[in-house]
């Protein structure tokens, strides 16, 4: 090969590689640098009270039982690993779980807010899902709003004595959908449409992401049910240790 051919060959490989990699369909992390500064700051500020509450509850748990620290850390690592693995999907694109619904059901919303921000930071730095400037907005949608709704629905279903599988599915599925709606609204607030303002823009964002996010939410729901059911059938003592299954059913 002459030098020119070599360069051409390399360029062709580079070109092919650029397109061979399927872009990750993740649970709508807003990418680095996509939000204007004032929105980055505002969403970060909104997260602060939740995070403070999370740190306080964490400190209390660790003071009560020092062993809790490794357990909480393992739970955080578990959420990260689960969200970094490719899940089977219908379309063949590579998509990821959020694991926040599962986290909210197992560990409660206070712990998930802290674990969530740490996991999101790691995802930004290690996987380039999300970013440092958009950490606040992503934390609000994925580690606070979604898990709170999941937890609420799970508790509600428990009160209504709904079928366990149905309640776990609904909690994870709706939590995921809610995260996607919140993210769309966050984007719409930052970028109102020229024709129709914030509301029209929100509809556009919801529409654009619906084809990837709706199947993802269903799959997340199903996976969460399988995981929780499997855990209940052969890990009862461990579940008691983290406070899940505290009240004897």
């Amino acid at each position: 090969m002459s030098k020119k051919e070599k360069i051409l060959f390399r360029a062709a490989i580079a070109f092919a590689l650029m397109f061979a990699v399927t872009p990750a369909v993740n649970a709508m992390h807003i990418m680095e640098g996509y939000l204007p500064v004032k929105y980055c700051i505002a969403w970060g500020a909104i997260c602060v009270p939740f995070l403070v509450a999370g740190v306080i509850s964490l400190k209390k748990r660790v003071a009560e039982n020092r062993k809790a620290i490794t357990l909480i850390a393992m739970s955080g690592a578990f959420i990260f690993v689960l969200s970094s693995l490719k899940i089977p999907s219908v379309t063949g694109s590579c998509s990821h779980m959020t694991g926040t619904g599962l986290g909210a059901i197992l560990f409660g919303p206070a712990a998930v807010s802290i674990l969530g921000i740490i996991v999101l930071l790691f995802q930004a730095v290690l996987l380039a899902h999300g970013g440092l400037t958009t950490l606040g907005a992503n934390t609000f949608s994925m580690a606070i709003a979604g898990p709170l709704l999941s937890f609420g629905i799970y508790m509600l279903c428990k009160k209504l004595k709904a079928n366990r599988k149905v309640s776990v599915f609904l909690a994870a599925f709706l939590g995921d959908l809610f995260t996607y709606c919140v993210t769309s609204i966050q984007l719409a607030l930052a970028y109102p449409s020229e024709a129709g303002g914030v509301a029209a823009s929100a509809v556009k964002f919801l529409g654009v992401f619906a084809p990837t996010q709706l199947p993802l939410a269903v799959i997340e729901g199903i996976l969460t049910v399988i995981i929780v059911m499997a855990m209940e059938s052969y890990a009862k003592p461990e579940l008691k240790a983290i406070g899940f299954l505290k009240e004897a059913r």
């Binding site: 872009p23 640098g33 850390a73 089977p88 730095v125 290690l126 380039a128």
Partner: protein, 257 residues
Amino acid sequence: MIVVDKLCYRSKLRYVNASEKFVFSILTLLFCVVSRSLVIAGIVFAVNSYLTVQKGKIPGLLYARLLTIPFLFLIMSTLAIIVNISKIPLDAYAIPVGSFFITGSFQSLLFGIQLIATAMASVSCLYFLSLNTTMTDFLRVLLKLRCPKILAELMLLIYRFIFVLLETASAIMVSQKSRLGNKDLRTSLDSFGKMGAGLLLRAFWRSNALYDAMESRCYDGEIRVLEEEYPVRRAEIAAIAAFELVLLGITIWRKTL
């Protein structure tokens, strides 16, 4: 397993003082986002890519591949910004659909391009930090910034556990694959769920064992490790300051225009 984590240990810029790299990328990132100008985005993208690929010796192809990760989000959300559905056609383009128009203005097209450029430049800042700084150095910088101790400790532990769990997960997935655990969607969903449950169970066992191991080595609520200090170099600080001043100058110039 995690490409970025592997690469950052190979980087030639790994032993540059971590605080310097942190300050450089965060300030540059801020200028990118604040100014939203094509000029700054171009400069920042070029400088970061040069530093990462030429100075840091991160393979260029891998770097290019990593840059495409957020592509789908970028394309789709930018589409949502520049495409409008309205009864009145705007100036750039207008495709009639029934009584409505799919339309957009030149201003929003320009805005979309600016947004894409800013976002890509910001991602290059993020990669400069993560491809040239190891996570432990990064966490140490966070600790210096007075991040609560319990958080820093939790992060250190989580970072360590990620690899332990990833290894377990991939071993489980390999054995599932070898037993036709992914033959169709139904089976693969079931396998993935069971892998998750098995993984969580292992995680709990491990956390118990780990706590015992830590306690037997006198753990009393704080993990103390020796730090390796990499000296702050004057020339590097001067270069960073000069670069940020240039960016500041351009930002002010573009804003007052």
